[in-house]
Amino acid sequence: MLDNAPPRHARNWVWFHRFGSPEHCYRLSERWGPRAGVCAGALFMVGLYLGLVAAPPDYQMGNSYRIIFIHVPTAWMSLFAYVSMAISAAIGLIWKIKMGHCIARSCAPLGAAFTLCALITGSLWGKPTWGTYWIWDARLTSELILLFLYFGFMALDNAIENRRTAAQASAILAVVGLINIPIIHYSVEWWNTLHQGSTVLKLEGPTIDTRMLIPLLVMFFAINLYFISGLCSRIQCELLDSERSTSWVRRIAGG
């Protein structure tokens, strides 16, 4: 063992700190963002064909249930994007890693878009199924609060002039808002609602025809890849802004 080798506990954290390097993250996003985007596009095509053409109609709802193939994946992703945002914001807050806040900032608009999609498609599904576009039940209300949390995070982050203070304040908001996530998920179990319970994530197994479950899962993977791709290009934008005076950004812009 050489005397100048880093101590064991320091070496174990090297991978973690490499993610803290803005240049490394920029290169990683540049490489993987477009690839994930292409895969997402292909999977969307497959999922849309399977969902809109190949899957049979539902025995009760007829064809209106086909909204499930965009409603459920966007709703899942609205929660997943929030958890990703809160975790990276917390890492940025605790370890003072700049990348943490950069990733959190990039998650927010994507998460807000997913939440908006879930709310609009849910409403358009509710009219032919329940008989109303909107009802203030626990599931719908908590999902609407999620949209406001995303808007609040983005507004707070942009309203504060000092970048460090903005990052800290919005990170605390993101972490505190995390409590809404289990509330959204369990709202249909804890209280009685008009919204139905979980179909896929059920203890006894999914209660859905396989020909409907496959397009649902394909759309889920497609939207996951879409999220990765969108996140990568947003991370690049954030880094070009915050690191614009560094030599590596000048190298990228100049050549």
């Binding site: 909204i67 032919p128 969108g230 290009s233």
Partner: protein
């Protein structure tokens, strides 16, 4: 084809929701690409001026 578009009378709800999602997701995906293009252009101008 007409039958497919009508979706058993639910065509309005299905096609409205699919098109709104398409517009929202496409905008969210494209906007950072244009933003990056603008950023790189302005950085290049800045470098040339120096």
């Amino acid at each position: 084809m007409v039958e497919f578009l009508q979706m058993g009378g639910h065509g309005f709800y299905i096609w409205t929701s699919y098109s709104i999602v398409l517009v929202v997701l496409l905008y969210t995906w494209l906007s950072p690409h244009y933003r990056r293009k603008r950023q790189l252009q302005s950085l290049l101008r800045q470098i040339r001026r120096q």
